[in-house]
């Protein structure tokens, strides 16, 4: 079983979710990488990204999550499929004396993978074929303090690093490419966060606050593969975010959770200029329900909805940017892995549209959690 689990993790270790909308902004904001959390609606406050979730941590633990995703995009009556697989996160936690915990993690924060035949952005005599690879990753560390075995407060620091490469190819008749324009983007920044949670046998409450983040992005472009344009440096001011969640256990083998995240993306600044007309304030709502029909099997279902933070372009000649709506149905299961930990499976069916381009996709998350402590974790949020 252990070999199978590790093997599955390795197979999925080269995958990633992607969206046809990933050409915008910093790309798709990736939900916290944890299959259990994913299957319950991907609440940020109840995720590993909240250092205040470590109420219980008897032993060293870690969890590796991989993600496989496929997406069918439909634009102007034409459907296309994109799909990839790659790791989406790793997190580990170490108990320290007097209730302190040290956590480490690596997450894909923004995903910038895509492969798009852009019909709406093209002219009749040519069209774009745009491929992008990369994203922004967060190297997290956090320090938590568990109080009275039912509460925890924590602070975290995340080093944001990332890079992407976009190839914009102009295709004309006979499948020939006129030229390729390449944009390379490197990002770096520092982020802080503070979180807390209170977890009792019947109720759980969690909150996570992330102050505004300054991100430095260096863009280099090469036009036609020949002309190297000047390098541009952007100072991005990402707005703060506030996340909250509540959990309620109506009876022993069931738990209901609700989550909300708010981030005023309209305050995103680029070189001190606010681009409120291009970005959208985001209120993401989620809910999930977990049921344990047996001691060794957890079944989960969830739902979330939001308008992603970037606005999108409708087909020409419409100039006004339009928001994207996203609704996701989550479900999954968790089983213990004897002598190892647990294996959680999370699946999402995603529906996105801006009224012109529709996406229907699926994501499959697989989290492999190490140590017996994770068996107990099915009964309680956090570690």
């Amino acid at each position: 079983m252990r070999l199978i689990a590790v093997g599955l993790a390795l197979v999925l270790a080269f995958a990633s979710g992607q969206s046809f909308f990933n050409t915008h902004g910093l790309g798709e904001l990736v939900p916290p990488a944890d299959a259990r959390n994913t299957s319950l609606g991907s609440s940020f406050a109840f995720s590993y990204q909240n250092p205040g979730m470590l109420v219980s941590l008897p032993q060293v633990s870690f969890v590796v999550t991989s993600l496989g995703a496929g997406m069918v995009g439909t634009e102007s009556g034409t459907s296309r499929f994109i799909g990839t697989v790659r790791p989406s996160g790793f997190t580990g936690a170490v108990p320290l004396p007097v209730g302190f915990r040290l956590s480490l993690g690596l997450d894909n924060v923004f995903n910038q993978d895509y492969d798009v035949w852009s019909d709406t952005a093209s002219d009749s005599s040519y069209r774009y074929h745009v491929t992008g690879r990369g994203g922004v990753y967060g190297l997290r560390t956090g320090l938590s303090w568990s109080l009275f075995n039912f509460a925890c407060v924590g602070v975290g620091y995340t080093r944001l690093l990332g890079g992407s490469r976009e190839d914009w190819r102009f295709e004309v008749g006979n499948g020939q490419y006129v030229s390729t324009d390449t944009i390379e983007l490197d990002c770096s920044g520092n982020a802080l966060c503070a979180g807390l949670s209170v977890q009792t046998g019947r109720f759980s409450v969690a909150a996570l606050y992330e102050p505004a983040v300054n991100l430095t992005a260096v863009s280099t472009r090469r036009v036609h593969g020949i002309i190297k344009d000047s390098t541009k440096t952007y100072q991005l001011g990402l707005p703060y975010s506030l996340s909250g969640g509540v959990g309620f256990r109506p009876f022993e083998r069931a738990e209901l959770t609700l989550g909300a995240e708010y981030r005023p993306w309209s305050g995103l600044s680029i070189n001190d200029t606010v681009f409120s007309s291009s970005y959208n304030n985001v209120l993401r709502l989620s809910g999930g329900f977990e049921f344990l029909p047996t001691e060794k099997l957890a079944l989960r279902i969830g739902y979330s909805r939001q308008q992603p933070y970037f606005l999108s372009h409708p087909p020409e000649p419409i100039l006004e940017l339009v928001p994207i709506s996203e609704q996701v149905v989550h479900f999954g299961a968790g089983i213990p892995v004897p002598q190892f930990g647990s294996l959680n499976l999370g699946a999402e069916v995603i529906f996105r549209t801006n009224g012109y381009l529709k996406e229907t996709g699926g994501r499959l998350s697989l989290s492999l959690a190490y140590h017996e402590a994770w068996l107990k974790r099915t009964r309680r949020w956090g570690y």
């Binding site: 910093l26 790309g27 944009i183 472009r221 002309i227 952007y234 991005l236």
Partner: protein, 320 residues
């Protein structure tokens, strides 16, 4: 090589054989062998050429790069040494040298023969490029001995006299006519991708011997001035078109110049000007193909236009 004539063109052939002055002294007969390269038929006469000529430079007006014929079209002795009709794949023609005096013989052995078409139309004759079909001279000697010589030089001269007239933007084959066009492209942003660049015009056809006219576009590699028609240009074409003459002769010729315009747009001087854009030549492809000639009107709806569509590089992702 072409031999023939019509209302607009006349094409004569020149052949020279490696003979010395005494080569004909002991011959009993001299035979000329020609091979036809197409299916037409043509009657002709041939006469000794009276002026030296250079195969690389000879034209209707010039015997070499500096010497004019006394008479455009070639100087010759007015003695018919051969009269024949080329109507099968090859022709063996007995030459009659009896009427040649010593000067004319010297002209024949030194400067060769000039061929005059007698019928309307044109015929293609194999030149000396192929040994098997090269024009030959067979010298017959007593005792059934003979010597066969391939032509050492050959050329055809095309009369352009009747083609001239008012200056026009002309493109032609057979007699080469080239048209130089220049389009100012400095306003195209340097970083633009040329998605479409089509040269369009409506040829005003003046003469053609085929329903398909093949012409193309070459890039000038140096400024048109001061060299003018002698300005260097690229040997390979950037675009070619097999223009099929329609019934109403009114279809538009379209040449795809995307790669050429992209090339011009990529290379700029410090002021942003396209410093490789010296214009283009529209010329027949190849210029020795069946004769045709058309004019490009310099103004009006049939005038040449460069239809451009360019795309600017994508914005950085934060501004899309």
């Amino acid at each position: 090589m072409y031999l023939g004539r019509d209302d607009f063109y006349q094409s004569r052939m020149l052949l020279r054989f490696p003979l010395n002055d005494s080569a004909l002294d002991t011959t009993t007969a001299v035979q000329l062998i020609l091979h036809r390269a197409d299916s037409a038929a043509m009657s002709f006469v041939c006469r000794p050429c009276s002026t030296d000529w250079n195969t690389d430079a000879v034209t209707w007006r010039l015997a070499d790069s500096v010497t004019h014929w006394f008479t455009p079209g070639g100087d010759y002795w007015k003695v018919d040494v051969g009269t024949g009709r080329l109507e099968s794949d090859s022709l063996v023609l007995d030459l009659d040298l009896s009427e040649l005096d010593s000067a004319a013989r010297h002209a024949f052995t030194s400067f060769g023969l000039l061929f005059f078409p007698q019928d309307t139309g044109f015929i293609a004759v194999h030149s000396g490029v192929s040994q098997a079909t090269a024009p030959r001279l067979k010298l017959n000697f007593p005792n059934n001995k003979s010597l066969t010589l391939n032509a050492s030089d050959d050329a055809h001269l095309v009369d352009t006299v009747r083609v001239g007239g008012a200056p026009a933007l002309t493109v032609g084959s057979g007699v080469a006519f080239r048209t130089w066009l220049y389009f100012g492209l400095d306003s195209i942003p340097r970083e633009a991708t040329i998605a479409k660049a089509e040269l369009k015009f409506r040829p005003d056809i003046k003469y053609r011997r085929s329903d398909t006219l093949r012409f193309g576009v070459h890039r000038l590699t140096e400024p048109y001035n001061p060299k003018g028609k002698n300005a260097n240009f690229s040997s390979s074409s950037y675009a070619t078109l097999s223009y099929v003459v329609s019934a109403d002769s009114d279809s538009v010729a379209v040449l795809d110049l995307r790669s050429l315009v992209q090339f011009w747009s990529n290379y700029r001087d410090s002021l942003g000007a396209c410093d490789s854009n010296f214009g283009l030549l529209v010329m027949a492809e190849p210029e020795y193909s069946l004769q045709f000639r058309f004019n490009i009107r310099p103004a009006g709806p049939a005038a040449p236009v460069l239809d451009l569509l360019y795309v600017l590089p994508p914005k950085d992702r934060f501004f899309r």
